[in-house]
């Protein structure tokens, strides 16, 4: 099992390198440097700044330097906020984003699984149509429509929940988490319903019923194992979407997270920040994909044994 994990980690390294190279090339081929924005700065100063940040070195050298720094955990200084390191910005911005993603996922899992599993138990009945129609709603109301709507209703009109911030006022984490998690809840509801329906039609469920087992045991001990496999396959790659979604949610709810920093960095042409964030995001996505794969293998006894034999 450990060899398998190690192999996957090794496979991820070229991917990260490819990401960093691609990002580097893209960012550098953009017209205009970070300092050209400020029209008040005289050309001589620009020249000095460029030299200071090694922007006049040959491109390949800049890239190699960057990678060497990365390996030391140094993402370089932010071009825009010159007193800060990209490291610091990432370290400051990531925790709120991670927390937001966590709560959103929690919401999505709880609501989605409940809806999906309930729906699968009585297909084509009201118990099925109601959750699934709500799920359709969740898919078709994007976060940037849902968020403002929720803000309007619960923030302005009813005044039940705070409209901005993260961790400052009690309850300010509720609306952002729901906004981000809603469409994922919808997807999970649909996927878990499909997965459960598929499993419930399997022969071994018929055997379990013939043994006179209680319905609760049949659903939770026998069916669930197979039924949630597609949900887990979905969750790994979903992290990429959650991170992207955080850009929007953090903007709407004014959350000081990495998503918002990233969008700002994009506007400001803050090279190191863009690169740093991209690589960091790619890293997070790869880690979560790996976790999802590992869990999938762990849940399937056949795969588990194949893998522990060192293949």
């Amino acid at each position: 099992m450990y060899i398998f994990i190690l192999k996957r980690i090794l496979q991820s390294i070229p991917v990260l390198l490819a990401v960093s190279l691609f990002t580097f090339i893209m960012v550098r081929s953009a017209p205009g440097g970070p300092f050209d924005q400020d029209r008040n700065v005289p050309p001589a100063v620009i020249k000095n700044l460029n030299a200071h940040y090694h922007l006049d070195d040959p491109l390949w050298k800049q890239y190699v330097d960057y990678i060497m720094n990365l390996l030391h955990g140094d993402f370089g200084p932010s071009f825009k906020f010159q007193s800060h390191n990209v490291n610091d910005l990432i370290l400051a911005g990531f925790p709120p984003t991670l927390e937001l993603a966590f709560y959103a996922t929690l919401f999505a899992l709880v609501v989605g699984l409940t809806a999906g599993i309930t729906a699968s138990l009585k297909p084509n009945s009201l118990q099925d149509y109601v959750p699934m129609s709500s799920a359709m709603l969740g898919i078709c109301l994007p976060s940037f429509v849902l968020g403002p709507l929720l803000l309007l209703i619960f923030g302005s009109w009813l005044q039940w929940l705070p409209v901005a911030g993260w961790g400052q006022i009690p309850g300010d984490k509720i609306l952002p988490s729901i906004t981000l998690g809603a469409s994922y809840a919808a997807y999970i509801a649909r996927i878990s319903r499909g997965g459960m329906l598929e499993v419930l039609s399997q022969d071994y469920i018929r055997t379990a019923r013939a043994k006179g087992l209680s319905p609760i045991r049949i659903v939770f001990v026998h069916a669930l194992r197979g039924g949630i496999t597609p949900v887990i396959s979905f969750l790994g790659p979903a992290i990429a979407g959650l991170l992207a979604g955080s850009f929007v949610v953090e903007t709407i709810f004014q959350i000081p997270g990495l998503g918002r920093f990233y969008v700002q960095a994009a506007f400001n042409r803050d090279y190191t920040m863009i690169m740093g964030c991209t690589i960091f995001f790619a890293f997070v996505i790869i880690v979560f994909n790996l976790l999802s794969d590992i869990i999938l293998v762990y849940l399937n006894p056949k795969l588990r044994q194949q893998v522990s034999r060192g293949h």
Binding site: F4, K7, R8, Q202, D203, Y204, R206, T207, A208, R209, A210, K211, G212, L213, S214, R217, V221, H222, R225, G226, D293, V297, L299, N300, P301, K302, L303, Q305, Q306, V307, H311
Partner: protein, 532 residues
């Protein structure tokens, strides 16, 4: 102990209401074995499932009937009452042990589940019971194997586990739904013997559902024959065997009796021999690994096989699953590439042809496949399917192709009016006729039939075999007939080849082989045929 009266079960589908079981009545005494025999659609399984409330109630519905078991009517019980009967008083075993066991749970957990659910035993006591049950069904190294998962057992072993699971709570009635149909012939015999033994030891009442009258005659004391939901005939085993009263029963019986080929062989030896296969080897590389596939060895599907077929002969190739018989057929058809060896059709080499020569030669050898559902393109009408080869190989022009297709339809006994219909609108037997028509359309020299009747109902089987026999005589065809079913082979083939694990075990004239088999494996295969 079980008395079923006037059972009627219907299914409400969007195409209308279908009657699955129509006015079925029977009795079962303690310790008795009842065989319920019928083909697909006979309602035999639905009847038994409905006793335990296991049919989905929309769309199914038990319209009428009573089923008295130990003084109470099963059909009137609600779900929680039925749950006390299922797995405790009445147990079931199913057809496919791979899909009927939970692949994610260890065998021990699946075994002790019913004990823990129904009976007041501790986990340790339940485990001891499980060990005893597994030993009784013939599993060795029980202490280790009990902690394994279903996929670590072979097909026959899994069925033994299922049986252990069903009997662990010491039920009074066992319902066995086609328990040996998915197993290899030699394993089938073992499982049937096991069930018989357990039935006697535990004085179990058994309802044995099967499509094979021969198996029922072996296992049961009394037999019920069903067709299209109705009870056709019932009686003791002896009476059904010696004096079947109904025509349908007689049809089933004749389909089961192993008869020899009714017409003489039309084989003629030629020089060079019609088809020669020399030292053919088809190996498949085996890849291991979950995410990175590496080569870890090869599977020797066809391991050094040599054979000869004479013109006009029907050669049977017999073997169980994994014997390589299908791969042999596909290798000769050039659908799969052999590693080494020679295949000579009328002296011409088939293996080293260029691509364009191969395409041209292909019309000389055609194949009939096993699965009538998968071997026809679902998006093409019968006409399209039959016309395509004729037009591609220029055997017909746009002007006369309709007439030629009509003649093919006549040849295989299909109504000409159906040529614009699609495969899904036909029955299995009709689809196989279409597949046969397609195979003979190009007037091939050699036909390879890969288990062409295995997926068909028993009564249909007989018709298709008769058709094949007629066609080979009418069109002077030479055929390689692949099957796992010894009695089918005996009916159709002049000579037989026995294969096991890729190797040739024995060959000879059909009747000689059947009456005096030399190899022990051949004897095993023959012994597995139900003795009546």
């Amino acid at each position: 102990m079980l008395s079923v009266k006037n059972l009627r079960v219907v299914f409400n589908t969007r195409n209308g209401t279908a009657v699955a079981v129509d006015d079925l009545s029977f009795e079962l005494k303690a310790g008795e074995v009842l065989g319920i025999v019928g083909e697909s659609g006979s309602g035999k399984s639905v009847a038994c499932y409905s006793l335990l409330g296991l049919i989905p109630t929309p769309p199914g519905k038990i319209e009428r009937g009573t089923a008295e078991f130990l003084g109470r009517d099963l059909l009137q019980m609600n779900e929680s009452e039925l749950r006390k009967i299922r797995g405790l008083k009445i147990s079931m075993i199913f057809q496919d042990p791979m899909t009927s066991l939970n692949p994610y749970m260890r065998v021990v957990d699946q075994l002790i589940e019913s004990v823990l659910e129904h009976q007041n035993l501790s986990k340790e006591e339940a485990r001891q019971r499980a060990i005893k049950a597994l030993t009784e069904v013939g599993i060795r190294d029980v202490d280790t194997r009990i902690n394994e998962y279903p996929h670590q057992f072979s097909g026959g072993m899994r069925q033994r586990v299922m049986i252990a699971m069903a009997l662990i709570t010491e039920p009074q009635l066992l319902i066995a739904d086609e328990p040996t149909t998915a197993l290899d012939v030699t394993v089938q015999a073992q499982i049937l013997a096991l069930i018989k033994k357990l039935q006697q030891t535990h004085n179990l009442a058994v309802i044995f559902i099967t499509h094979d009258l021969g198996v029922a005659l072996q296992m049961a004391d009394n037999i019920i024959v069903m067709e299209k939901g109705k009870l056709i005939e019932q009686g003791t085993t002896e009476k059904i065997f010696k004096q079947p009263a109904q025509a349908y029963t007689q049809k089933l019986l004749s389909a089961v009796l192993t008869t020899s080929k009714p017409t003489p062989s039309l084989a003629e030896k030629t020089e060079p021999p019609f088809l020669q296969v020399k030292q053919l080897k088809t190996y498949f590389p085996k890849f291991g690994g979950v995410f990175i596939k590496r080569l870890i060895g090869s599977e020797k599907a066809v391991d050094d096989i040599s054979l000869t077929i004479n013109r006009g002969e029907i050669l049977g190739v017999v073997g169980e699953s994994g014997s390589g018989k299908s791969t042999l057929g596909r290798s000769i058809m050039r659908l799969v590439d052999a590693q080494s060896g020679e295949i000579l059709l009328e002296g011409k080499d088939l293996l080293n042809l260029s691509d364009s020569d191969l395409k041209k030669s292909r019309r000389n050898f055609q194949m009939i496949f096993q699965d009538p559902y998968a071997s026809l393109n679902p998006r093409m009408t019968v006409f399209d399917t039959l016309a395509e080869p004729l037009l591609t190989h220029k055997l017909a022009t746009q002007k006369n192709v309709v007439e030629q297709v009509n003649q093919l339809m006549d040849d295989v006994g299909l109504d000409r009016r159906f040529i614009r219909k699609y495969p899904h609108e036909f029955s299995g037997g009709q689809r196989q006729r279409i597949a046969i028509a397609r195979a003979i359309a190009l007037k091939p020299k050699l036909i390879i039939a890969d288990e062409p009747v295995s997926a068909l109902d028993v009564t249909i089987r007989a018709q298709i075999l008769k058709l094949l026999l007629e066609l080979t005589q009418k069109h002077q065809l030479t055929m390689l007939f692949i099957s796992h079913d010894m009695s089918v082979v005996r009916y159709l083939c002049d000579r037989v080849l026995v294969m096991q694990k890729g190797k040739l075990v024995e060959e000879g004239e059909t009747e000689t082989l059947f009456s005096a088999p030399k190899e022990s494996y051949t004897q095993q295969l023959l012994a597995a045929i139900p003795k009546l």
